[in-house]
Amino acid sequence: MLSRPRPLPLRYAAACIGLLLPTLAFAADGDPPAEAPPAATAPPATTQPPVDPPPASATPPVAAPTTPPQAEVPPAARETLEARAAFRTMGQDVKGPSGIVVAQLVNILVNTEGQPVAAILDYGGFLGVGKRRIAVAWRALQFTPDGIGLGLSREQLRGLPEFKDGEPAVLAVPPAAPGTAEAPANR
């Protein structure tokens, strides 16, 4: 090549700076802000989400160093869960009555006693297009070693309004058994 265009290195530099800016912005905001997670997911999680361990990890907390120098706080006891006794929930596929995957479980709503009352699902869609966030009653889900099952079909979930954070959730409830008065599938 007889003459190399001189401004080229400048452009390379501009491109590199352009590349670095987003990653620098990420590095600047430090640890990932944990979304206010429902308390139900904190306890005996034997597996961790595959992110850098946030400050509150699954290992039991040691005595807080800021307590006034009174009687020593005993370290937390430990218990082990059988591998098959408890299952991961977040992000897991949810299968419909026909056995195909219809949704992903993205959040769990609990009451003040810590009992789960509803699950938030990313439902439907094809290759990510058209999925909707809906809330279903906890009792509509079955948890098995093969995965999570949802007892409501697509037809039953038609017209269910989307779940919006901060607003009262409209839950899809399994219909009452035949024989009693038919309760509507959606409230």
């Binding site: 265009p5 590349l19 595959p50 991961r88 977040m90 990313d122 869609g125 990510g128 058209g130 999925k131």
Partner: protein, 403 residues
């Protein structure tokens, strides 16, 4: 005959590259959800990808313009995309995913202009319209085939399998690139030292060219209208359709791809023979009409039929964006920079689109969102009709008539 072979290879190059890029759509969010990422983390990762794409457009355009070795650059970009897919599949931790998004953004910004530049170098300006039409045809075929393959892989195997498939698809793409012979390429002459010393002047010249600005605004408004329509339709279908929802959504994705595959070469030929404006008006008119129809039609089959209009406008924009960039940069070597400017406008439009449509849809409902999007599309149409000049040159017209 060797020229035909290079052209065939370019066809299949577009096919395989489109295959690869299909995996990086909304499916990444689904995959990350399955990895138990929270909404905030997914949003950050995807925003990094979008921001990188926008920041990298112009430097990438400058880069592709500056180097005569465009095939090498395309090859490097393809390796980058494949690598980002492998990172997604093999190592879904926070930093590798961010690296993957950044890498994919930069590589895509280099790859698309490189392919357009190779097309221009292969066929020259007079036949560029038809060539771009063929590129668009094979790209939409690639999108359709990949959507089917990856949808099946995601359903039957795992989310990660989609990205392994994506990375694997890069191999045929690289093979087809090697079949495009260097001897067939006749790129526009590199800038003389005088021109190049005024490099900044060229960029400013491009930015003050009224037609460039007008068309960039058209692209922005068009994409603002277009980008959020399919997700909105998809959400509506999931809400109202029963068991056949997924099939209807798949039809809404496939029908436009089919239409693009069908009419793109015709659009390119028409743009050559009848001029650019007629095709622009056709494509830009289809968009607001589609927006209005989508807000009133609720029958799933009707929605899929309305999506044919999506195919028309997508075909027109897909062919005419690079074609207009070539027209407006005749005589200087800023083809890719011009394409990068248009690409930046498209990126900005897409970002505004999804945010705006999401906000309006949650406050006022989907119908209002479709109305606003259709309004933006109509604005783009008005810009095209009243402000956009015909950019086909006299000698192009003569050449295309005799060709």
């Amino acid at each position: 005959m060797l020229r035909r072979r290079s052209e065939r290879s370019l066809d299949w190059l577009n096919f395989f590259v489109a295959n690869v890029q299909t995996g990086f759509g909304p499916f990444v969010a689904v995959y990350l959800t399955a990895q138990a990422w929270t909404d905030v983390e997914i949003g950050v990762a995807l925003s990094v990808g979008t921001a990188t794409m926008m920041l990298a457009q112009v430097p990438a355009g400058l880069l592709v313009d500056a180097t005569p070795r465009k095939r090498l650059l395309a090859m490097i970009a393809m390796i980058g995309v494949a690598l980002s897919a492998v990172l997604l599949a093999a190592w879904p931790a926070r930093l590798p995913i961010l690296a993957s998004e950044v890498l994919h953004g930069v590589a895509s910004c280099i790859l698309a202009p490189a392919i357009a530049a190779i097309s221009l170098a292969l066929v020259g300006r007079a036949r560029l319209g038809e060539r771009l039409g063929r590129n668009a045809r094979y790209a939409s075929l690639g999108n359709g085939v990949a959507a089917a393959a990856m949808g099946s892989a995601g359903a039957w195997f795992s989310g990660a399998s989609v990205f392994w498939l994506t990375a694997f698809m890069m191999i045929p793409a690289m093979v087809t690139l090697t079949f495009i012979r260097q001897s067939e390429l006749h790129p526009p002459p590199p800038p003389t030292p005088v021109q190049d010393a005024a490099g900044r002047g060229e960029i400013r010249g491009l930015l003050t060219n009224r037609s460039v600005l007008v068309f960039a605004a058209c692209c922005l408004l068009f994409t603002l209208a277009n980008a959020a329509m399919l997700p909105l339709v998809g959400a509506e279908i999931t809400r109202v359709a029963g068991d056949e929802a997924n099939l209807v959504i798949a039809a809404c994705i496939v029908v436009p791809q089919f239409v693009v595959a069908l009419i793109s070469p015709w659009v390119g030929r028409m743009a050559q023979s009848r001029g650019r404006r007629s095709m622009l008006m056709l494509g830009f008119a289809a968009l607001p009409v589609r927006g209005l129809l989508l807000s009133v039609v609720s029958d799933p089959l009707g929605l899929a039929a309305v999506q044919m209009l999506d195919g028309i406008s997508a075909a027109v924009l897909g062919v005419l964006l690079p074609l207009l960039a070539a027209d407006l940069t005749k005589g200087n070597n800023r083809f890719n920079l011009c394409m990068a400017l248009f690409g930046l406008a498209v990126g900005i439009g897409a970002t505004i689109s999804t945010t705006l449509a999401g906000a309006i849809s949650s406050w006022f409902g989907a119908g209002a969102a479709f109305g606003v999007l259709a309004g933006s599309g109509f604005l783009a149409f008005l810009l095209v009709v009243f402000l956009m000049p015909e950019t086909r040159g006299e000698e192009d017209e003569a050449e295309s008539v005799t060709a």
